[in-house]
């Protein structure tokens, strides 16, 4: 192993584990070595906390600096960065909160915010063209499959966590005050992007299930059948209109006759 690699490994150990002997022995004997390692540790820790604050702004606002800071330090120990690109650094935070037995609301809020984070920079895609729409409407629904934008994420939650997310958006109105604890109520939302901004739209549970199953590649006829079995009055056209208005449908494929 090269001397340089030994030095880098010793420095890394000093920062991560506080095993500063090997690293400080290699540093100048000017009395600064221990303080230097501590300073780097602090700067690095602050950087990662800042990244998590940017990725999870609502969770940060909800929990405050103190709790969030402790959470961020624990997360860094458990899930150190493995890339020079910090976009994915916070992806394990929902799992980390679960491991900590954190309150359900925080876990679900983190899941929702990670979906928002992904949607913010997901690939752009065009909307359903009039020709595609016509083909979809006129074809046998058992042969039609709907393709959703990469900017659309379907997420279900055991509580209506989107209410907290909406209430804590910058500029939210006082009408958005949410009573806690949230009721236990299975909730589905679509996370989308419009004009570069992330939007979270709650759907009625059966509407959500229809959209989710369509997004998993099921054909239109079987999804409609599933919905009507649950609710004979279910209006499939209404749901498709909602999805079109949310601009989440990118296209459709119509299976040809063999």
């Amino acid at each position: 192993m090269s001397r340089l690699r030994e030095q880098q490994q010793a420095f890394a150990e000093a920062i991560v584990e506080g095993k500063s002997h090997a690293a400080t022995a290699a540093m100048a004997a000017d009395g600064l070595a221990l303080r230097s390692v501590a300073l780097y540790r602090r700067l690095i820790r602050n950087n990662y906390t800042q990244v998590l604050k940017i990725t999870y702004p609502v969770l940060h606002r909800f929990t405050g600096d103190g709790y969030f800071g402790v959470l961020a330090r624990g997360y860094l120990k458990r899930y150190p960065s493995t890339s020079g690109d910090l976009f994915f650094y916070g992806r394990h935070l929902p799992a980390w909160l679960q491991q900590l037995d954190a309150p359900l609301l925080l876990i679900e809020l983190a899941r929702l915010e990670w979906a928002c984070h992904e949607v913010y920079q997901a690939a752009d895609s065009s909307s359903l063209s009039p020709d595609q729409l016509q083909a979809m409407v006129s074809a046998d629904p058992s042969r039609v499959r709907v393709q959703f934008h990469q900017t659309a994420r379907f997420q279900s939650f055991p509580v209506p966590v989107h209410r907290v997310w909406l209430a804590l958006q910058p500029g939210a109105s006082s009408d958005d005050v949410v009573d806690l604890p949230l009721p236990e109520e299975e909730t589905g939302v679509i996370v989308t992007r419009s004009d570069g901004k992330v939007q979270v739209t709650p759907l009625a549970w059966l509407d959500y299930r229809v959209a989710e199953v369509l997004s998993q590649g099921a054909d239109v006829a079987s999804v409609e059948r599933m919905a009507v079995e649950s609710d004979p009055a279910f209006d499939f056209t209404r749901v498709m209109t909602t999805l079109l208005s949310l601009h989440v449908i990118a296209g459709c494929s119509v299976e040809e006759d063999l």
Partner: protein, 281 residues
């Protein structure tokens, strides 16, 4: 090395492009000559950041200032990172692409900070090989920035200025001379900043960075969260006269002020550059 030289950025002042100022810049483009940004902030597949950068690029020359390549690391080069960087370079055609004389990862673990190398013959060979590799993969010369460091290695016999100079000579890379870093290091380690600057050949300096620092006990910390300090303006005047006018960036990353403050700092830098142009004309 087979590389193409980039189109030049004028020897005028530019500002760092931060998301905080996107709206202001789009609504009323400020009178600055160019802008610099961290390419890693645009590694996503789509969305607003890329669309905004396209609009800004249509108006200003652009420079990419990378922070994630970990050039000095003894780990293998991150080809996925290089691939994303190359795609952005193809799309936005920045005039400069820069990185740092530092490492930030070892054994697959990243610290996402700019950690100092010891200035040894081994480090020099290593960083030169890595710069060659990166320049070949990116098909262009890089600019490499001197960093702030908060420690010195015991075994570090080469001076920073000589190290940078030799690195530039061997690889053909340019030096991105960060004068705030020079000043912070000089104060923290009780050295003369001019000793470092005098060791660098003028032709190797392609760009200059100016920024502000904060105090942490007796140490100065390179936070990029304050205006440029008078002492650093003093170094800048010296550097512009010694090296000649160079594209100069006002860097501000934390505690971001209104855009007008950055523009005012850029105007101040332009005045110094202008005075030098007059003197040398």
């Amino acid at each position: 090395m087979s590389v193409q030289h980039p189109a030049p950025i004028p020897a005028q002042a530019g500002i760092g492009l931060r998301a905080h100022h996107f709206r202001e810049i789009l609504d009323a483009p400020p009178p600055v000559a160019w802008m610099e940004t961290h390419p890693e902030n645009y590694f996503g597949d789509g969305g607003a950041p890329l669309r905004i950068l396209e609009r800004i690029r249509a108006r200003y020359p652009l420079s990419f200032h990378g922070v994630g390549l970990s050039l000095g690391s003894t780990d293998p080069m991150d080809h996925a990172h290089i691939g994303k960087l190359n795609a952005l370079i193809d799309r936005f055609e920045p005039a400069f692409v820069s990185e740092h004389l530092s490492w930030s990862s070892v054994g697959g673990r990243f610290f996402n900070d700019l950690l100092p190398l010891p200035y040894t013959a081994e480090s020099l060979d290593h960083i030169c090989a890595r710069i060659d590799e990166a320049q070949n993969l990116l098909k262009r010369p890089l600019l490499i920035e001197n960093i702030t460091r908060y420690l010195t290695w015991q075994d570090s016999p080469i001076s920073e200025g000589a190290f940078l100079s030799e690195m530039a000579g061997r690889t053909g890379c340019g030096i991105l001379l960060d004068l705030n870093n020079v000043y912070v290091n000089a104060v923290n380690f009780h050295t003369d900043p001019l000793d470092m600057l005098m060791a660098i050949p003028a032709e190797a300096v392609w760009e200059i960075h100016l920024a502000g620092f904060d105090r942490f006990g007796r140490m100065l910390i390179d936070t990029h969260g304050q205006p440029v300090y008078p002492e650093v303006w003093g170094l800048y005047r010296w550097a512009v006269h010694h090296f000649g006018p160079r594209p100069t960036l006002i860097e501000w990353d934390t505690n971001l002020p209104p855009l007008s403050v950055l523009v005012e700092q850029a105007t101040q830098a332009d005045a110094i550059l202008g005075a030098c142009h007059v003197t040398t004309a």
